[in-house]
């Protein structure tokens, strides 16, 4: 077939190009620009090459933050995914209680991040917070501002409270799509409850669970507001996650060069992990068929 050549058609993609340029490419390039330069103020910049990247890679502070970040994301995934699935399995399938549960489950998802942080910040205080006061009264030494373990428990429980609903709702959607005949056939085949889960429910939920894991990984890896409002990264730097550290560096100390290098590596790490995850998932899926 003869193709019509009309170079003017390129103009049709221009609006999208402009939009993407302003929303993604230009900001990212600005960061790249900062990461390879040094400044002493007065808007005077000097070429620094890959010096900042090298410095950041040798910096224990960044490795520490990365380690804490991986620990945080890993822990919340290990809790939220099984818990979300468990909740979804136990939610009513239909009727008024199903709707009630759905509304109840979505409530935490509707609360702005900084409000979630504030809620837990107050909730955990020993003087006016219900949780802190109760634990204190029970004789448990709980103080998230001075005790690293308490601080960690607080931000993890907070994240579980905030986001398990998302996993549960996605898993619930997956469960709802399973036709009744599957459960009936399982009864005829005399399958145990565990086998029904293992061979019917889990395979049918796999697709949405993968999305849930990916979403929760990316979101938790970039988390900033909630832990910052509760602990401010403390006590010391025990709860300083990557983004908190980055903001301290970029805005607190105004070390633009290192912060920019840090940002780019941060971005690449998320991209890399997500890509590895995605590839593994797709391959698992292929091997299955």
């Amino acid at each position: 077939m003869e193709k019509t050549v009309n170079q003017k058609a390129w103009f049709l993609v221009l609006p999208v190009l402009i939009l993407v340029a302003f929303s993604a490419v230009i900001p990212l390039m600005t960061v790249v620009n900062y990461s390879v330069q040094d400044t002493f103020g007065n808007n005077q910049f000097f070429w620094a090459g890959l010096e900042w990247f090298g410095e950041m890679l040798r910096d224990d502070r960044m490795w520490g933050a990365l380690g804490r970040q991986l620990f945080f994301s890993g822990t919340i995934l290990l809790i939220q995914i099984p818990l979300g699935v468990f909740v979804a399995l136990n939610m009513p399938k239909k009727g008024i209680w199903a709707s009630f549960c759905l509304v109840l489950m979505s409530l935490p998802l509707l609360i702005p991040w900084n409000v979630v942080g504030t809620i837990w910040q107050i909730f955990g205080r020993a003087d006016i917070g219900l949780l802190g006061y109760t634990l204190d009264a029970l004789g448990i030494d709980y103080n998230y501002t001075s005790d690293a373990v308490a601080a960690w428990v607080t931000i993890i429980v907070m994240d579980v409270w905030h986001w398990t609903s998302l996993v549960a709702l996605l898993a619930y959607a997956g469960l709802q799509s399973i036709p009744d005949a599957y459960y009936q056939a399982a009864k005829i085949d005399q399958a145990s409850r565990w086998k029904v889960f293992r061979f019917i429910e889990l395979p049918k939920m796999m697709g949405v669970l993968m999305i849930a894991i990916l979403l929760r990984f990316m979101d938790s890896f970039m988390i900033y507001t909630e832990p910052f409002v509760v602990t401010g990264g403390g006590p010391g730097s025990t709860t300083t996650l990557l983004s908190i550290d980055l903001v301290k560096m970029a805005l607190g100390q105004f070390d633009l060069g290192p912060a920019a290098a840090f940002s780019i590596m941060y971005f690449l790490v998320i991209l890399l992990i997500s890509w590895v995850f995605y590839t593994v998932m797709v391959n698992l899926d292929k091997r299955g068929s």
Binding site: P179, A181, Y182, Q184, A185, K187, I188, D189, Q190, A191, S192, K195, F199, I200, P203, K204, G288, S289
Partner: protein
């Protein structure tokens, strides 16, 4: 293997059924003989699947009892009843191989692996899937998946009954015939009680020794294919079985004659006069004859040649009727007379057949 008895069984999906219309399955008493092959025939939504699910224990009936060999199993769970059931749409365990799918019901019952392997190989040969046994079930086509479902239903030898809920809906016609033949041979070999739900009369008539016809939550007739053809107990059976179905005409029946419009049709027996009810006569197209000279006036609308015979669509006293003529009969424009074989004209009062002596047929009691 067991005789299955339904005793006063009825089911409603509503919590508090108020009247008969609320029942998906109306009160029913029936014995399914041990080792017989039944077809449960009826249009969609007539309660066939409900009945099947009650027998297998997936559904608890609102009233009545189910007995297996005289033993009450109404409240026994599915697992205790030892029943195999195959559903309309394929159910396979996606992450398992075909082999593991077929082995699943046996393994769940703790059978040893040597026995499992032997049964699975037998069944795989029967459904023609020996070469894909090690493949994952997920990637297979819909009819391959349905064959696995059928195979899972047949893999156990000791089941009380085998229930099929329109199992061949998704299978292509050629394979349908083959699988049906295999089900039949399986039945001959092992003598399981089989109940086969379908809305396809060909399927029902070729598969079963006895056909149970359901209509609107009620069993309207149980009989051999011949009985259903010759003496439909309910006008629905007449419509539903046969192609085209029975001609049903509103009539005024008196003695040995039925009056339809201005014409008088002789009947095979004498009837008491039936006033105040809906009276109809039914006659199958096979027992209607066209001729040039004998019989009642009729006008032919069109003739369809369907191969082995011709279907004549005609108008008789303002009613549409169908007539079946032989393939080599010549239907001329001057064939304006029709006659009905008196021995095969049935009389229906409120849709139920009435025997010539005037008493209501047994059908209504069911």
């Amino acid at each position: 293997m067991a005789k299955i008895t339904l005793d006063n069984l009825a089911h409603s999906y509503l919590a508090n059924p108020a009247n008969e219309a609320d029942y998906a399955l109306k009160e029913l008493n029936h014995d399914w003989d041990d080792g017989a092959a039944y077809a449960l025939l009826g249009s969609s939504g007539c309660g066939k699947s409900t009945l099947l699910n009650i027998i297998s224990g997936l559904l608890q009936p609102s009233q009545g009892r189910i007995l297996f060999n005289g033993q009450d199993v109404t409240h026994s769970p599915t697992a205790k009843r030892n029943i195999a059931q195959v559903f309309q749409f394929p159910v396979v365990y996606d992450t398992m191989t075909v082999h593991d799918n077929l082995a699943f019901p046996l393994r769940n019952r703790g059978r040893d692996e040597a026995y499992v392997a032997e049964r699975v190989n037998n069944i795989a040969r029967m459904i023609g899937m020996e070469d894909v046994l090690s493949k994952k079930a997920r990637g297979l086509t819909a009819d391959a998946k349905q064959k696995i479902s059928l195979g899972r239903g047949m893999v156990r030898e000791d089941v009380n009954a085998l229930l099929f809920d329109e199992p061949l809906t998704v299978i292509d016609p050629h394979m349908k015939w083959e699988l049906r033949t295999q089900l039949k041979s399986l039945h001959h070999e092992f003598g399981h009680t089989m109940i086969y739900v379908t809305h396809d009369q060909t399927e029902a008539l070729t598969f079963a020794d006895k056909v149970v016809v359901m209509y609107d939550g009620r069993v309207v007739q149980i009989g051999t294919p011949e009985e259903l053809f010759e003496r439909p107990e309910h006008t629905f059976v007449g419509y539903f079985i046969g192609s085209p179905g029975m001609n049903v005409l509103t009539a005024d029946v008196q003695g040995t004659e039925a009056r339809v419009g201005g014409s008088t049709i002789p009947l095979g027996g004498g009837y008491r006069s039936m006033q105040g009810s809906k009276v109809e006569i039914g006659v199958r197209p096979e027992f209607v004859k066209l001729s040039r000279t004998d019989g009642l006036p009729v006008s032919i609308q069109r003739v369809e040649d369907v191969g082995r015979h011709k279907i004549v669509r005609a108008t008789f006293e303002g009613h549409e009727i169908n007539i079946i003529a032989n393939e080599d009969d010549v239907i001329g424009a001057d064939m304006t007379r029709v006659s009905f074989d008196p021995a095969h004209v049935n009389v229906y009062v409120n849709d139920w057949r009435v025997a010539p002596d005037g008493s209501q047929s047994v059908g209504e009691a069911a």
